[in-house]
């Protein structure tokens, strides 16, 4: 069998790549995709730990994470759609009405 450390290291790498993608990308949709990558990296770490320790609980928690991610995607994409209707753009550079 494969050591659990490999899976943990892979999940670290995916999480860090998600962070990099979130900061490099300039449009809301791709940044949202980067958030999904980070959630998936967390799922992978959960399942690797559960497989190495012999718990089943982590699988239930991953199930909840996937459910909440689906709900979050629905609301987040609706908000992105609303921003696009109002501003005709989803670039983060043009969202400066609060002087951020």
């Amino acid at each position: 069998m494969i050591p659990a450390n490999y899976f943990i290291l892979l999940s670290f790498a995916l999480f860090v790549l998600g962070i990099i993608a979130f900061f490099i990308k300039k449009d809301l949709l791709t940044q949202f995709m980067a958030v999904e990558i980070m959630l998936n990296a967390a799922n992978l770490a959960f399942l690797a730990l559960s497989a190495s320790r012999g718990f089943t609980d982590a699988q239930v928690i991953v199930f909840f994470i996937i459910t909440v991610a689906a709900a979050e995607a629905a609301v987040g994409l609706a908000i992105i759609l609303l921003i696009f209707r109002r501003k005709k753009s989803i670039k983060t550079e043009e969202m400066d009405s609060m002087k951020g």
Binding site: M1, I2, A4, N5, Y6, F7, I8, L9, L10, F12, L14, F15, V16, L17, G18, I19, I20, A21, F22, F23, I24, K25, K26, D27, L29, T30, M33, E36, I37, N40, N43, L44, L47, A48, S50, A51, S52, G54, F55, T56, D57, Q59, V60, V62, F63, F64, I66, T67, V68, A69, A70, A71, A74, V75, L77, A78, L81, L82, F84, I90
Partner: protein, 165 residues
Amino acid sequence: MMTVLFFFLAAVCLGSVIAMIVSRNQAYNALFLVLAFAAMGGLFGLLGAPFMAVVQIIIYSGAIMIVFIFVLMMINLRQGISPEKRKWTIGLAVLIAVILCGEIFLAAKGFLAASPSPETTAAAGPTEIGRLLFTKYLYPFEITSVLIVASLVGAIVLAKKREKE
């Protein structure tokens, strides 16, 4: 055999995420992400969680990414990403990533350094998950259903067109 499969799936997963970072076309980004999530489903299967593998492929690379692509089609960005890329954000991203990497390694050093690295064993199947879901995690399960209904209503209210403004 398992090890070869693991390295293949890990390479597909990391490669498609890196391709997503490099590519500027949002439709390609979404498709790369579908590939990454499908490979991640394979990794879940290798970890002895076949139910989670199926859920990952159906919900993540199926449902969620389809919703992304639908929104992408509605938004219909013709102009693409602005050609002038500010270099300092890339520097900032790499800096934050390096700091985060260090922090994660400090936090997980104990686990990673455990001399006999724990091997992945076959975990329980769907039967055990279902039993846990309806006994120990019954309240979170019910609250999740309320959350789903709330997000459904919220998404519809947010995205519908106003009749008169």
